[in-house]
């Protein structure tokens, strides 16, 4: 029993250490964004909110936020519209090429975005959409469509087929079944998929970065460029921008966590036999 206690203690100490480090990383950014000047002291001597106004005007954050929101909402909408029917068929039907299809949908999630992002960028620039807002949307959708499919799939599996059969027997057409039976039952699934696609799109870096041109930078890409150009702008203003980004991601995340358990937000491994 004492050995069990020791293990428990080790676990808590490590997790606590990890969380403290994480909290340190996050709050360092937050404190720095409110600091007037901060150098080598535990806390800055004076606080100010000026860096937010500075960041807002100098980084054209209004514009960047608008573009980010537009891209994110467009990605969510398209991913849901084309992912929904595919998830339905994959959940309901069995056919010979289904495993191949599943693998094909899984690959964009498995292969790192940097690996396929460069050929994708080459292709999109060849067709003249590279560096534009539609180009970013097209690129970010590549992993987001499969993500939407894989999130929606188990929700469809939970809806009993008997409901559809009953509706059919009572004379409902396909459209009516969709409108009156499936859609209302799928609201939680659609919300979950929509929110997770939204948060993943806002925080997507690699694809948005490879495809972004002057007027199509999302917030996280703009943040990267400013950290990269380190020293050009005061670090406090960059941190202010990072805080705005963080607030944006966290607010979506807080809503999303009402619907999903944290363990569901990473890959779903097949459960072992029960």
């Amino acid at each position: 029993m004492t050995r069990g206690r020791t293990w428990q203690l080790v676990i808590y100490v490590f997790l606590l250490g990890f969380i403290v480090n994480l909290a340190g990383i996050v709050s360092h950014v937050v404190v720095s964004s409110f600091a007037k000047r901060w150098f080598g002291k535990p806390l800055p001597p004076a606080f100010t909110t000026d860096w937010f106004t500075y960041a807002w005007t100098n980084f054209e954050l209004g514009q960047v936020l608008l573009i980010t929101l537009f891209i994110a909402l467009a990605v969510v909408f398209i991913a849901l519209v084309i992912g929904f029917p595919a998830a339905y068929i994959l959940a309901r039907r069995n056919f010979r090429v289904k495993p191949i299809l599943m693998l094909l949908y899984f690959l964009p999630l498995l292969i790192p975005q940097m690996t396929y992002g460069i050929p994708l960028a080459t292709t999109l620039y060849k067709f003249g959409v590279g560096g534009t807002v539609p180009g970013v949307i097209l690129a970010v959708l590549v992993p987001m469509v499969p993500l939407a499919v894989f999130i929606l799939l188990p929700f469809f599996e939970q809806i009993s087929l008997n409901l559809e059969w009953s509706a059919q027997m009572l004379g409902a057409t396909r459209m009516q079944i969709f409108r009156r039976v499936l859609l209302p039952l799928m609201v939680p699934g659609i919300l979950t998929a929509g929110l997770l696609v939204l948060v993943n799109t806002i925080s997507n870096f690699e694809l948005a970065f490879l495809m972004a041109g002057g007027g199509s930078q999302t917030l996280v890409v703009a943040l990267y460029y400013n950290v990269f150009a380190g020293g050009v702008r005061p670090v406090y203003s960059i941190d202010a921008m990072a805080v705005i980004y963080m607030v944006m991601v966290m607010s979506v995340l807080l809503v999303a966590l009402r619907f999903v358990r944290p363990t569901q937000m990473v890959f779903r491994l097949d459960q072992p036999r029960r």
Partner: protein, 294 residues
């Protein structure tokens, strides 16, 4: 289980095809086609004859370029091993739930959702020479010179770990807590100690999930890009292969060479996956022999 609920009709009718078509076309046009085009483009160097291996030859004869493979391995391998072993240890010991589990797992989702760019910016501040960690250690008298933790190899490892550990841990936690607890109870009833239960009963059951987790973490960290630039030394010790590909594409504007490097990167990841799958095959035989007939 899921099988029973699906429609018995196995034919693909018009409706099914129409439903699948948009997403399938999307994946084919925007994922499969660019991939094939990338391979094609890599064989068409900007200068020189069409259809030649010139890009690949120049990659493997230029030490500045081919060393990126070694650099990337040096970053990805230790990180993946540490992440998976720690992830396994914690997920295994938390399999029956612990106090404040929901809060802890929620906090752990944060770094995954915030993304690596934000984390790297935070790491620059927190672990920097004037950061809180160094101030604390200096203040406690543990060190006399601030530790150099950013803009080098350690910084990238820190950033990769912060990003990958929660991912791997949550994935394994979901997997391990799905294992039937009665198996463990039976083993205990038959007199097995905690170590024997882990080694003989649980590990063989966890192994498939563990291998997938390792593969995912390794492949993810092999494509390390933003953190290698932001908290690393992109010109030196952390010049990973994706930095090489990016520089060719967007600094030299040689898309053909960049595609070649992307293909090499993809092949390295594929190679690693094959090795992992082979190791897993050997592992299954070994454990099955140990456990006897299952």
């Amino acid at each position: 289980m899921a099988r029973a609920r699906t429609d018995e009709r196995s034919e693909l009718d018009l409706v099914a095809i129409l439903c699948l078509a948009p997403s399938l076309l999307y994946v084919i046009c925007m994922f499969v086609y660019p991939f094939l085009y990338g391979v094609y483009a890599s064989l068409q160097p900007v200068k020189g004859p069409a259809w030649s291996l010139k890009n690949y030859i120049s990659f493997f004869t230029d030490a500045y370029q081919y060393k990126t493979i070694v650099t990337t391995f040096e970053l990805a391998l230790p990180n993946s091993i540490a992440v998976v072993l720690l992830g396994l240890f914690f997920a295994y010991n938390m399999r029956r739930g612990i106090w404040a589990e929901r809060t802890i797992t929620t906090i752990l989702v944060l770094p995954i959702s915030l993304g690596v760019v934000f984390l790297s910016e935070g790491i620059l501040g927190f672990y920097g020479t004037n950061g809180w960690l160094n101030q604390m250690l200096l203040g406690a008298g543990l060190i006399h010179e601030p530790l150099e933790l950013t803009h080098n190899f350690i910084g990238v490892i820190l950033s990769l770990f912060m990003q990958n550990f929660p991912f791997c841990f949550l994935m394994l936690l979901g997997y391990i807590s799905g294992i039937d607890p009665s198996l463990e109870s039976s083993a205990r009833m038959l007199g097995a100690g905690p170590w024997t239960i882990f080694r003989r009963v649980m590990l063989p059951l966890i192994a498939p999930g563990l291998v997938i987790a390792f593969a995912l973490v390794f492949v993810m960290s092999f494509a390390v890009f933003p953190s290698a630039v932001m908290v690393g030394q992109p010109a030196g010790s952390t010049r990973s292969i994706s930095i090489a590909a990016y520089q060719q594409a967007f600094e030299q504007y040689d898309m053909s060479y960049a595609s070649a490097i992307a293909v090499i990167m993809g092949l390295c990841q594929l190679l690693a996956l094959i090795v992992i799958v082979l190791v897993r095959k050997r592992m299954t035989i070994a454990t099955t022999m140990g456990v006897g007939k299952r």
